[in-house]
Subunit: 329 residues, 2 copies
């Protein structure tokens, strides 16, 4: 939530010079980013001013970055509005600043919509489907590191922090998800690289046009439906009751399906993956809440929100017949 | 290479009290550990003094730790000499200190052997095979994150730092390893959780008895032969010429095979995996060398060592017929 590593104007100008990018006009620390230090740069190029984001990686090491950078490059090349890492004349995509690995990307326009309308949900749904299709043949793939195996590993670690009702919920949900994962419908789910963390604050809009998707540092290969479920849980549920907001929910799904129709097994497992997506963030937020990496820097989210989402999805399963998915065009 | 996070005597005593472990006698910061802060604790329990290691995780978050802790617990339960995380009365395995996730483990006796004799190599080989067998049914498994997919992703990132001969070597080796990975022999390699970083400084001995294996934070599921190859490259090659030291090499392999005989595909692919293991550390050391995470803390290894190992394995393949593997008993 803050700039961790100071970068001076001359240091940033030196990086720009090595990248042959022009003259630094302004350098501004960003409050965004929990795990990285971000600076916004305005750069004079010819008669124009271009905007960049300089990211210094505080947690991820140079060794952990290639997958994410390769995925962003592929998506950018295919026209998705994602940060595209700048390569220097020698072909280097990762730079070094203040002893830390750093990347420079184009700054995406727009701002986050924390109270999205159905139009925003539709734009998100269409972009998500395009992202799935554009990423699927990315030659560099890493498993989704916050998937089923991680839920199984993390359950016993967070169990001691839960009360008995929460503990029972966690155990039964893990049993359910492992049961689902052995089904033939699950095996038939289409898979590929997913964003896996596409919350409202990782998406930018100019009015109703989706102008940016960023923060790919949880991306990995998993089933596409899980990614869609993460979005539906965050974009189209009532924030207090966790009841689906039918219009936004339908708009997101319908727009997704206009680009890539869901398969039969995906329709069958929608509620299971909505539960899976709630479980995943309930687990990580419980970790973060009770075992923060650095209390002074991490603004821990309330883990109970996703516990509520999970309970609601169990009590009131979402079935597609309950949401008219006739394309709205 | 240093203590990053200060822990005071009262803070350490408070943790011990919560774990019901006794009275802290001494607290000593350790110079070991690149990614963690380690303290050695002497603790009075009844009439005895027990020794522990307190680890504060600087890079890994609480969310990343469950796999590694579960693996260590399983191995310790099965009698392997590995750190066994202490659980508090509530069942918590991860603690919090100075806002960082922390674990307390038994301190293993002994010291590292940087110039191992064949007897040390044999002890290592036998322990490695026991580790593979004991870990294979660990219910919590994570892929090896520094495996083939990572080599493919990282190649283009380090390519700009290499001269043309090195660049050509890297490209051809990646092509070779991808070719190997498509072979039926490779598909037949036995797999399971591997340590993946079992260098001499991660093993402790009391004389010739192996008394400890630690640093499981690169562990993951991959083929067992790769793990054996990492060990052979580090324990039984001449440090300058990278020529195998026949006696130690043979002793390590023979002792491994006394516990678990290699399969036909493993014998066939031994040299390929020696190359793979050299490639893996050539890549990561090139990353670390040119893009250190924090120049002041990381002591970057010379990447050229593993380039030399790789060239030597290509020029002079190791075949098992060249190393008499008749058990030495």
């Amino acid at each position: 939530m803050a700039v961790y590593t100071e970068v001076t104007f001359p240091q940033a100008q030196q990086l720009l010079s090595g990248l042959d990018l022009g003259e630094l006009q302004t350098l501004e620390g960003s409050a965004l980013g929990i795990e990285n230090t971000n600076y916004f740069l305005a750069v004079a190029q010819g008669g124009e001013v271009q905007h960049y984001v300089l990211t210094l990686f505080e947690r991820l090491t140079a060794e952990q970055l290639p997958f994410y950078l390769a995925l962003m490059q592929q998506l950018a090349r295919r026209g998705l509005p994602v940060p595209n890492p700048v390569t220097n004349p020698k072909g280097q995509i990762l730079h070094k600043l203040q002893g830390k690995p750093a990347a420079l990307v184009n700054r995406l326009p727009g701002k986050s919509q924390l109270t999205p309308t159905p139009a925003h949900c539709a734009a998100l749904g269409a972009t998500l489907a395009r992202l799935h299709l554009a990423a699927r043949d990315c030659p560099l793939q890493q498993e989704h590191l916050r998937g089923l195996a991680w839920w199984n590993a993390t359950g016993p670690v967070v169990q001691p922090f839960l009360d008995s009702a929460q503990g029972a919920l966690l155990r039964s949900e893990l049993a359910y998800q492992n049961h689902v994962a052995e089904s033939s419908a699950y095996a038939a789910l289409p898979r590929g690289p997913i964003h896996a963390d596409l919350f409202r604050d990782n998406v930018l809009f100019e009015d109703e046009r989706l102008s940016g998707v960023f923060d790919f540092y949880f991306a990995g290969v998993d089933n596409w439906l899980f990614d869609l479920a993460v979005c539906l849980n965050d974009w189209a549920m009532h924030p207090q009751t966790a009841v689906p907001e039918a219009t936004g929910f339908r708009a997101l799904l319908a727009a997704y399906e206009q680009v890539r129709p869901l398969t039969g097994p995906e329709r069958e497992l929608l509620n299971a993956m909505l539960r899976a997506a709630a479980l995943r963030f309930w687990l990580s937020r419980t970790c973060d809440y009770h075992l923060p990496r650095d209390a002074s820097l991490l603004q821990a989210h309330d883990p109970s929100h996703f516990e509520r989402v999970l309970r609601e999805r169990i009590a009131h399963p979402v079935t597609l017949s309950g949401y008219d998915l006739t394309p709205t065009t």
